[in-house]
Symmetry: D2
Subunit: 390 residues, 4 copies
């Protein structure tokens, strides 16, 4: 962490900040410029009471240099990434196999979820999803999930999907909206808890999830920078929890045609550079258009996803919610097959990739020779130009 002192900061103010940092156990460094002094704090900055420093006299702002999410961070190096494996029931996420989680937007009835589970199983997907209490942007939609009206309804709804999952050997993924429902989910035997986009920054819910043994799929909010997102994820992990899965489902952008704008570059950044956690792609919410779910799911795998969420329904034309983005059974089967093919190709391509870190040394050592070979004369005249300008 760098502490940037204001233009007019006095030597006393600077000394006070340095003392404070050392008092808290940090080593410090200092860089005195013509107008501005910077103080560096070295050590575990996740412990640093930033607010307190920010308020000290003469301090202008804090400039983060290293990452303030520790548990969610990638621990490997470009050439040898280290990723967690998270278990959803008996299914490993983030390992050698791709994990496809499929199912209807909502659990609507026992026959519906049983038939959906059968179709999911037959498609080759490995886990079953289905909502029991649903987000609705309008309070007048007339359907907020089979479990929305009472605690009893919640119990019964959860039991349906757990039963369907057991029947077909599929672990289950169900979204939770209220911190007080978490223990109900645990008791009834849901295998994985999902935090939806509108709750991505719900502090009370995330704090509650620190204590659940269940794995958590934490979806990214539609206005969250990647690293801000990792800080909210870090909240769930802060006390030691490890089994968390990231999931991209779309950002707000200038694009009004798709329901959201899938940030696949964010997936690539998370998987290849920033985090040790498995990353999922939800192209159903990410596009909101049934015929784009296919391409964008595959593109998401190519970008770095190792988990895929797909909405599908025995007959999406009669689904009670979000049916317009749910796949027909034939499309699900086809997509699961295509997913496997893309996954295999990506693994092959990944294994050959030469990260820049492995090349920079060589090219750096050739820099002088290359400059001479490529620029020869230009280099000189260029220098002149910039001197004249100065």
């Amino acid at each position: 962490m760098l502490v940037k002192m204001a233009r007019g900061a006095t030597p006393e103010q600077i000394a006070t900040v340095e003392d404070k940092l050392r008092e808290w156990g940090y080593k410090t460094g200092k860089m005195v410029g013509e107008e501005i002094t910077l103080i560096g704090a070295y050590g575990d900055i996740t412990r640093l009471p930033q607010g307190e420093i920010q308020e000290m006299g003469g301090v202008e702002t804090l400039i983060p240099i290293s990452r303030s999410y520790k548990r969610a961070a990638q621990k490997g190096s470009p050439g040898s990434l280290i990723h967690n494996i998270v278990n959803i029931g008996k299914v490993e996420v983030g390992g050698d196999k791709l994990t496809v989680v499929a199912g209807p937007c909502s659990v609507e009835s026992e026959p519906q979820i049983m038939e959906a589970a059968r179709l999911v199983k037959e498609s080759g997907a490995r886990a079953l999803r289905g909502g029991v209490v649903k987000y609705r942007s309008s309070p007048y939609s007339g359907w907020e999930g089979i479990g929305s009206n009472s605690e009893e309804a919640l119990h019964n709804g959860l039991k349906l999907i757990v039963k369907a999952g057991k029947e077909f050997g599929l672990p289950t993924v169900v979204e939770v909206l209220d911190p007080y429902d978490v223990s109900v989910y645990e008791d009834i035997g849901v295998d994985c808890i999902q935090v939806g986009e509108p709750n991505s920054k719900n502090q009370a819910l995330l704090n509650r999830l620190r204590d659940t043994p269940l794995p958590v799929i934490h979806k990214r909010g539609n206005s969250l920078d990647i690293e801000a997102y990792l800080l909210w994820v870090e909240r769930v992990m802060a006390n030691g929890k490890e089994n968390v899965i990231l999931c991209e489902r779309g950002l707000l952008s200038a694009n009004k045609y798709t329901r959201n704008t899938l940030d696949l570059g964010g997936i690539a950044a998370l998987h290849y550079q920033l985090s040790c956690l498995p990353v999922g792609i939800d192209a159903s919410h990410g596009t909101g258009i049934r015929d784009l779910v296919h391409s964008m799911t595959l593109a998401g795998i190519m970008a770095g996803a190792s988990l895929v969420l797909i909405e599908a329904h025995p007959n999406p034309l009669i689904a009670k919610s979000d049916g317009f983005q749910g796949l027909f059974p034939e499309q699900l089967t086809q997509l699961v097959t295509a997913c496997e093919q893309v996954w295999e190709l990506r693994k092959r391509i990944d294994s050959l990739y030469i990260p820049s870190a492995n090349l920079e040394g060589d090219y750096d050592s050739r820099a002088a020779t290359d400059k001479k070979r490529l620029f020869g004369r230009e280099e000189k005249s260029n220098r002149k130009a910039s001197e004249q300008k100065g």
Copy 2:
């Protein structure tokens, strides 16, 4: 609501949609184009099961024509707006007077909140704010509010601010994060509940607030369109609750200099066109820069706000959270005075405003004459140009 049928929709599909709409009690209309048929549904569309229609055969999409938030909507006309008055304790919000709510980001101790309350009272502000459980973007900030660690701490923290408010005759506004805390707030005597930006779409919390008799300040999420925001607000009001206050505190945008981008055009749209609810401005979070809070609060009033939230602290340099945006006491006093002046000026200017609706008739009736006077010859040549193009 318009139902847009797909290009290849069959007459049977069209008839089925019409039948369904009529079966639900809507009158219908139809417009048959060369390629596309549109079906209109007239009546209370808040009751319309949109999902079910969207999934019917041949339906491409729904196009909303009238607003789907009824309770939060403006009921007047451009010339004579109708606005609710909401009471926070004995303070009327949305009436003839401006309401300034001020106080520290967090309740930090009894002496701190007592001194803050005294300063708020002396400044001329009319209500006291202060957080007892705080949002923090990092889980490692080291301070999540005086009430964050246990139920007892929550009780004690709330009691402090309620005591301070009573001492100085200021009703209190406190943010709630967890649905299960609402009854605690009610019991201890908080006068108004605030829903923070990260919870703007927290369905469980909003549903819970339907039942509180306390007024609710519902802040707008940083990625919510105004009308999408009004739908989340409508959720709180869906069962009849009326005492809700809107609040703008900044959107995500290209601007990286201020902490958020205050959408004052949104305030103007809400106040003058879309909603019957009072609108607040929170320039502390909206700018995140102490010296911009002043100007942006005043600009917010000019744009249409009738409630103002201001963070201030006896000594913001030692505040435990967000002190960088908290005003110094002198600045608070000055701003409250300036707020009154801007408010009085706005009321005067508002009273003179001639809405377009009152002018359009006249100008419409002169259109032909004006065209002749202003365009004379051009009109003709123009017609020709567009004919050639066709």
Copy 3:
């Protein structure tokens, strides 16, 4: 096009609008709701003088129903898309083969562009890119391209890349910034003109490009909705030009980690639903991070791109501009190979895809049976619930 009349529009105003539309040669339809009347205009709405209607008495707004870009629009159907093939020199874009265009950000010297061209050729890429006049966000960067200082410099710079392209049998793609340079590009033998992101809405430049016989790669602006983008593209095509290529290079979003946010969902929408034009992906500018260019280029192909732009340099560590996103030669070779593999896989997967349009009929006809099988009892109780609410 739908004309939405205001709440208080008079019958005369409505009649006037209908008359006007018919006078212009449109068929009309009308839907009279309880509060609002809608008038439909059928025919070639690209000829419709929208502004004139918008200003007629009683008109509230226009609601577009069919697309206002005709030439850029997709003309096929979901099951059988129709795409233009655009030639860059002898290279076909949008046909059976993937087109990889690679090269340095800037032409820096004759040896540099010759060596770059050789590397591009060896990598298997099919065309050469390189800027001669460069965008720079700061006016003090000290380098605005080899051709930036005079007309003579522009000539010489363009000649270098054209020479390099000819030497290695690679057609050349060069960005143009000034409308008055277009003829210079044509004369010197550049094979394809690129419009950069900052010029995506540069009306003078786009108008000028209507008349060039050269193909144009028109990059999408970072705040343009897909359909708004297609309207700017349509501007280039308005007089009949056909050889235009779309290109996604990133939007503004909440993501601050990558330089821009690649909207691959936009690529999928353009390729599979909205446009007949080939779509390119530029992951160099789209990510701004060398090690993410690889994954995101491949993901872009999977999403629907048939052209790929890649920045690469003989030694990116000494590049005069944007070297941080330029690939090392080994990485380029590897990426071109991987691109081919992903392209082949996508073609195979595409050929099997069952579009929803081919399934909807069946599922629609089973809807009643499926509802009975899946929902049986629930259906009834549900109806009741919504009735009670109404």
Copy 4:
């Protein structure tokens, strides 16, 4: 400027960077952390060839510490700001008086612009605006300005507005789209050139404007960060030009109700903190809704604007472009009067404002006493808590 070296940077790489910086005439500083080394460069960083450094071995990234726009920057201090005065004809912008520039979106005919000029004069506004070549998002709008079809048309169109301005003693502001038209504007006697939003990053046009003696109103692009915007403005000023005016006309955001989202916080930041240039507000494009122009113009003045652009038309219902946002003459007159009142109030309020810089010293010196008084016991227990966590 800080140079952040990568985690694995070697001592040689660090030394090379330091040497290079010194060779270019910068003083340097260094801060060696546990993992990361930072090198500071002190001096005029606008001369610094950033690209070259960014590409040196071991360099991870550059962190700007001081501003890279020099001419556009604010040179005063919080208590005593220094602002340029820019002349448009005989009208001073940025001085003691508010400047209202009003007029139609487009010059449509001689009678129209003459009547508009008369109305503008009568309203009390001080300059006349009107477009002669117009941006249109659709190429099929059928009207691109009276001067769009030929050079002769451009001449004639410009002559009309210049004549109208002279007749009523109003200097004229006209938008330019093509760099090659600038000299025509100068020759015919336009008093101020406007750069529109779509051209905010048009490098060729901005470079051309360096050489015009005319003042330039440079509108901010809808996806430009404030400081990125100032860098594009700096481009116009880079060779010494001083008479440039900033203008906010709206950003892209989540708000879909208004045409754009006016960033008034940006205006406040520009005027009070970042720039010496006068700032304008264009609420006509910024809202796109006639009845919101009034409030948002006034709010813009309150936020810090000293120039106001307003679209108005003798009869906006018959305007050929953007009439829906043009004011009726009565509204213009009323708004100009209101603008003056808000301006006077803001000046009064501004003169009393106590900037934080004037208070921080006092509050800093009381910090220890205040902590003891306000926190007493808490301080201790707090320290403990954070120790336990570490």
